[in-house]
């Protein structure tokens, strides 16, 4: 009898172990492994354009003392925060409408439509925005027809935001909607029964209850925007040097992979701290 129980326990352990195995394996193979390689690489040297294994701190000293690195860091952070706030603000009414005003069928269709943009290449979507935003593009020509001449919108902070919101908005809407759909609707009824108006219901009941969804949506928007290269290059015209552009520049000239590794590690550290901070805030008890 004891043998049978322990065999069953062992088999259950093996079963759960089998299911749990892919996660640590994936993390080890695709996160920890490359991370260790990246850290190691950041101490290498480049001699005659050739990567040479070494252990020297010069790459770290060079990058962390460069003004242009910190300028790019600050700019990237501000752009990513702005994109995250903008995407969250635009997504909020959409998610509220999807969750509270649409019927089940319409809700599924609309949520499905927000997934459709992911079927096409992000690069292609950004290139197509160039056609709209350029001086001879549709938007400028329409504005010019009604007497407004504002030049090109390309290579401006506005174009940057358009690109980053294009990238992140569908995802933020889906995350916020899922969060709102899982909200216990009796809370809203209770708030109304207690005499709250619609505005108070929204700000005192709905938004605090869906805080994890809003924060996680904003976090994803921040993460994607922070590491984005395509928008900064093709809609920003390379004029707003972000950390991703800096990595490309560092590698392109002089084959300085170790210095690019330093920039990458700073980016990863920033994203890890941001993610941990955001998650702890999202699930903190009010």
């Amino acid at each position: 009898m004891t043998t049978s129980i322990s065999t069953r326990r062992l088999s259950r352990l093996a079963y759960s172990g089998l299911w749990s195995l892919p996660l640590p394996l994936w993390l080890a193979g695709f996160f920890l492994g490359p991370m260790i390689l990246l850290i190691w690489l950041s101490f290498w040297d480049v001699r005659n354009f050739l990567l040479t294994p070494d252990f020297q701190l010069e790459n770290w000293q060079k990058m962390l003392s460069a003004n242009y690195f910190w300028a790019a860091y600050l700019r990237t952070t501000l752009i990513a925060i702005s994109a995250a706030i903008l995407a969250s603000l635009v997504a909020l009414p959409c998610a509220l409408a999807i969750s509270f005003f649409l019927g089940l069928k319409a809700r599924m269709v609309v949520l499905g439509l927000f997934v459709v943009p992911f079927f096409t290449s992000y690069l292609v979507r950004i290139y197509s925005w160039q056609i709209y935003l350029t001086e001879n593009g549709i938007i400028m020509k329409t504005l010019a027809a009604v007497g407004i001449d504002s030049g090109s919108l390309l290579n401006t902070p506005l174009a940057l935001m358009v690109g980053l919101v294009t990238l992140t908005l569908p995802l933020v809407i889906v995350i916020q909607s899922i969060s709102m759909l899982s909200l216990d609707k009796t809370l809203i009824d209770a708030a109304y029964n207690l005499g709250c108006g619609p505005r108070r219901v929204l700000f005192a009941t709905v938004l605090p209850a869906v805080r994890p969804g809003i924060v996680l949506g904003a976090l994803f928007a921040f993460i994607f925007s922070f590491g984005d290269f395509v928008t900064a290059t093709y809609l920003g015209g390379g004029k707003f040097t972000t950390l991703s552009i800096l990595i490309a520049d560092t590698v392109k000239s002089g084959q300085q992979w170790p210095r690019a590794a330093v920039v990458s590690l700073v980016m990863i550290a920033t994203l890890l701290v941001s993610a941990l901070g955001a998650i702890s805030y999202a699930y903190r008890r009010a």
């Binding site: 030049g151 290059t233 004029k239 040097t241 800096l246 520049d249 392109k252 000239s253 002089g254």
Partner: protein, 370 residues
């Protein structure tokens, strides 16, 4: 009645015969065509560039394209000798190839240098002492590329026009420090734009930074083409006919002007890779592209047009493609490409001499962020 049942063995046999018959032409081709590898900038091993040679010598050229001389050096450093039979490189990187022993010595008697203008008989950078390592294939000039609707040739005769208020937000940059800082160094009056003192380097940095308010953006190859074509940008320093020639084929009203302060010359060349097992074939390829016919073809490559050093190819360009020849500077008389070189208005693009390459690169990053 005959037994018509198809057995499994018969089916397999018929299938094998059919598959063999269908695959035969490619098997025969694969057996007979020699494969030759080429490390090159994009476009140099496309059909318009190599098909004739491939057919003539029953060879298949397999390219490995790179972007930038430093990537080329890194690729060579990571590959065993003999990986690449042909290496296509800019002149400033040939010395690095020689220094790292990535290329074979060449015999000048094997190539038709007599067909070339005298300036290219002993092109600096391709020789180390008395030893030849590379044969020039094409070259071009970098100055000011501009939209003729917005900037006239007369106006583009000075780099000072880049600072003109009317071109504010209309100046673009190809995102590579070397050609940009090269032409701006000429604007600062440096007779050797890449060999400048620390004081001159400081002056060049300040001068370049003062241009930033005029700048619309920094572009890669595709971005340069689309921004100049769409009118987003009307003027770009540090590029040349390798961009405007392509745009003109597409109907754009653009050209490249070499200002009075001078221009920069880029140069393409072919070398034979160290340890190549097909060095004889690689030599034949270089001989082919150095011939008048090969040179005429190189001047008109789809990837972009360029000037060639061969005198007979110039004659052919002037008679068969006069408009392209005119834009490229391949015409007779004053102001042609050779005349500009002889008047010392053209300076060969080099790596910085008195500063480290990374100093120039770091400044370029700072300039973009300014």
């Amino acid at each position: 009645m005959a037994n018509t049942t198809l057995t499994r063995r018969a089916l397999l046999k018929s299938g094998a015969i059919a598959a063999g018959t269908l695959a035969m032409p490619s098997i025969v081709r694969a057996q007979t065509a020699t494969e030759m590898t080429m490390l090159a900038w994009y476009g140099q091993a496309e059909p318009d560039a190599v098909a004739e040679f491939e057919e003539l010598h029953n060879v298949k050229i397999t390219p490995k394209y790179y972007v930038g001389g430093e990537q080329m050096l890194a690729l060579l450093a990571q590959s065993p000798p003999g990986t690449y039979d042909l290496i296509h490189a800019d002149a400033e990187y040939v010395q690095q190839l020689v220094f790292a022993k990535f290329v074979e010595e060449l015999d000048p008697n094997d190539y038709a240098f007599d067909d070339f203008f005298p300036e290219f008989h002993r092109f600096p950078g391709h020789w180390s002492g008395d030893q030849l390592y590379a044969v020039i294939s094409r070259f071009g000039f970098l100055g000011i590329s501009h939209n003729l609707d917005a900037v006239s040739v007369k106006e583009a005769m000075s780099y000072d026009m880049l600072w003109d208020e009317k071109h504010k937000d209309k100046v673009g940059h190809f995102d590579w420090h070397l050609p940009n800082l090269g032409v701006l160094s000429l604007k600062e009056g440096n007779s050797q734009p890449f060999n400048i003192s620390e004081a001159a380097w400081g002056q060049l940095m300040n001068g370049t930074l003062s241009l930033k308010p005029q700048v619309r953006g920094f572009y890669d190859y595709g971005g340069v083409l689309s921004s100049l074509k769409s009118g987003e940008v009307t003027v770009m320093p540090g590029i040349g006919e390798w961009i405007t020639g392509v745009l003109r084929r597409d109907g754009a009203n653009v050209t490249t002007t070499i200002p009075e302060q001078g221009g920069i010359q880029f140069t393409e060349s072919f070398s034979i890779g160290r340890g190549s097992q097909r060095a004889d074939l690689a030599k034949k390829f270089i001989q082919h592209v150095s011939s008048p016919k090969g040179q005429f073809n190189l001047a008109n490559l789809n990837v972009f047009p360029a000037i060639v050093p061969s005198k007979p190819a110039w004659e052919q360009m002037i008679s068969e493609r006069p408009e392209d020849a005119r834009h490229l500077g391949m015409f007779k008389g004053e102001g042609n490409a050779i005349d500009l070189i002889r008047k010392e208005r053209i300076h060969i693009r080099e790596l910085p001499v008195q500063q480290e390459l990374e100093d120039w690169n770091d400044f370029w990053s700072a300039y973009k962020s300014a």
